[in-house]
Symmetry: C2
Subunit: 367 residues, 2 copies
């Protein structure tokens, strides 16, 4: 059985690592020569819109998935005519456009921050009237890791913000003074089986995820699962779906969803009985889902921009290093490290040491 | 950093799966086109004695290891002149010849069954005088999974046994009425750091390992570690070393050692904080060793000859499937399944169910 993946980055790499033990083989379609999934898969090197490459991929793969939501819609549609593509293309369409995504959340009675559609400067002014300030202007599509976003604090900044995101269709979102950021990784199989991982508490900085902590038995788990269940059913979803929430009191405001394995679920490789990567593959192949229970309290810290002293990281007892084989570059995710401990206090002590090693000092974004 | 591996079977495959997260790349030298490590490594397809292939491997690998002890000694010697080869060639030489191996055990005051060198029919007769009957005649080199062995119960069987193993240099070993078979997986790094995994209790049938159970805090652990420590130091060893013992009362009789990752250590992938595969790589690259503590009670069951219904296996909560991508064939190891549980009684219940699924019935080789 061969799985085709659109994109050959670290998510494809970790899907392949999880999939070989299931007896699967992998082909990635990815234009970059140094694709980090390349060394451990068949690498089809072409643009995502290349007709011959798509034909080749559809011909050799039994099932196709993708590792990023900005994959061209027409490529997915073309593939879907010939071979199973999961998550389903209509879920991708809903998730890749921030306005459609938030509209769908609200239709399903899932709370969000106030938001409004922005097509030009005039509609941006109307949106500010509706949503209020401060607010965040975000491109409807193609943004990630804080790119394609501009914070607007006062009316005089409208034009500058509009230009800074490239004057493209956008969404204005009310600024949320949240208490916590949490995310739920859920999975639904071709057979309709559904499972949820424990919530993760996430810490972002400069728009990039820095750290996730697994939350076993958290009071917000039930509401998050209800919301995810609605979305999974509405979309007749297949695969892993991650939803990020802002938490204010007992309220969860859906921020965005990702129709794929997600950075805030990387802790599941060691911290859950079955990883999100294995369960995504099980789901899209119609296999029974694996146990999503946690194996302890887990913390995941991203390695961003530059590589710390890996020898020191490996010296930390129980630290699981995951390098992606990518060249270091400012703001680039090049790996992550996971800790899993039975005792949450021991986890906190080790996490502090880990973050000192990663950031070169203690406490950059600790809570 | 690129690791070269002589052999491209399941051990190479699992080394690669453990090594990519450390940021490593892999080249395997393996003559078989359908080498199961092939799809996830650079596959150098040539005989192990091919001079150009060895030259190419030495040229591109920063460090070389091997996945089986019957790799030609001259190839290892040739590689060792150009690049680090671990475990060291003299350890390979000691482990690949049953007579040298057992002699070394005894030199280190590690108990073994009685044994004698056999060069021809005359020396076989002398060996029977010395060792007694019943006894097992084994080729000095190249045997594995019960191949190259013949049990001798009475004098009249000598000639037949001698012919059946191919009339090659051999060793006669006294038959041991053991109570348990256990094995210790140990690891020593280039820096001299040493670590031991919990003992595994092994169950063989027809000379092939069927099942291993991890033994946390077993009374025999200390003696096994003492024996392994002596061997690691004597050989100035680097990498994973597995030693199989027969246990009779408080005595451990060393049966054989493997200078490589070992089937009885496969449970460490999920059942220990750091797997034997990752620790072998850390050891040969001079990195700090990872924690060898167990994460629970583990059981590993080999999939031999034919593939059971994998959908049913995956339905068993907490079952970790490991397929090697090999075509089923009688007597061939094509995968394994691991269970890890906090409660040993729950493990036993699940193991029984697992073995029913694997063997098509309950209890084939249960204890």
């Amino acid at each position: 059985m061969r799985v085709g993946i659109l994109g050959g980055g670290q998510l494809a790499r970790m899907l392949a690592l999880a999939g070989y033990p299931l007896g699967l083989d992998f082909t990635v379609l990815e234009p970059a020569q140094d694709a980090c999934a390349g060394p451990l898969t068949q690498h089809l090197r072409a643009e995502y819109t290349d007709a011959e490459a798509l034909q080749a991929l559809a011909g050799e793969a039994d099932c196709i998935t993708y590792e990023f939501e900005n994959v061209p819609a027409e490529s997915v549609t073309r593939l879907d005519r010939q071979v199973h593509v999961y998550p389903p293309p209509h879920a991708l369409a809903a998730a890749r456009d921030r306005f459609l995504e938030k509209t769908l959340f609200n239709q399903l009675e899932i709370e969000t921050a106030p938001f409004a559609d922005v097509q030009d400067l005039d509609s941006l002014r109307a949106a500010v009237e509706q949503v209020g300030l401060p607010a965040v202007l975000k491109t409807r599509t193609l943004g990630y890791d804080g790119k394609g976003q501009a914070v607007i604090r006062e009316e005089g900044e409208l034009e500058k913000a509009w230009e800074s995101i490239g004057a493209v269709p956008a969404i204005l979102e009310g600024f949320v003074e949240f208490e916590r950021e949490v995310s739920l990784v859920s999975v639904r199989s071709r057979e309709g089986e559904v499972a949820f991982y424990p919530l993760a508490r996430n810490h972002h900085s400069e728009g990039i995820l820095r750290r996730s902590l697994s939350l076993d038995g958290d009071p917000a788990q039930q509401l998050a699962e209800q919301y995810a269940q609605r979305m999974l059913e509405r979309l007749d979803y297949v695969g892993v779906l991650a939803i990020e929430f802002f938490q204010i009191g007992h309220h969860l405001l859906a921020n965005e969803m990702a129709p794929r394995v997600h950075n805030s679920g990387h802790w599941t490789i060691e911290g859950a009985v079955t990883s999100q990567f294995e369960n995504h593959l099980r789901a899209i192949l119609g296999l029974p889902l694996g146990d999503t229970s946690s194996t302890g309290h887990a913390a995941m810290v991203n390695l961003i921009g530059e590589l710390p002293d890996t020898r020191e990281l490996l010296r930390l007892p129980g630290a699981h290093l995951h390098l992606y084989g990518k060249a270091p570059r400012a703001g680039r995710k090049i790996g992550h490290v996971t800790l899993v401990e039975e005792d949450r206090r021991i986890l906190q002590v080790k996490l502090q040491r880990l973050e000192e090693l990663v950031h070169g000092r203690g406490g950059e974004s600790r809570s």
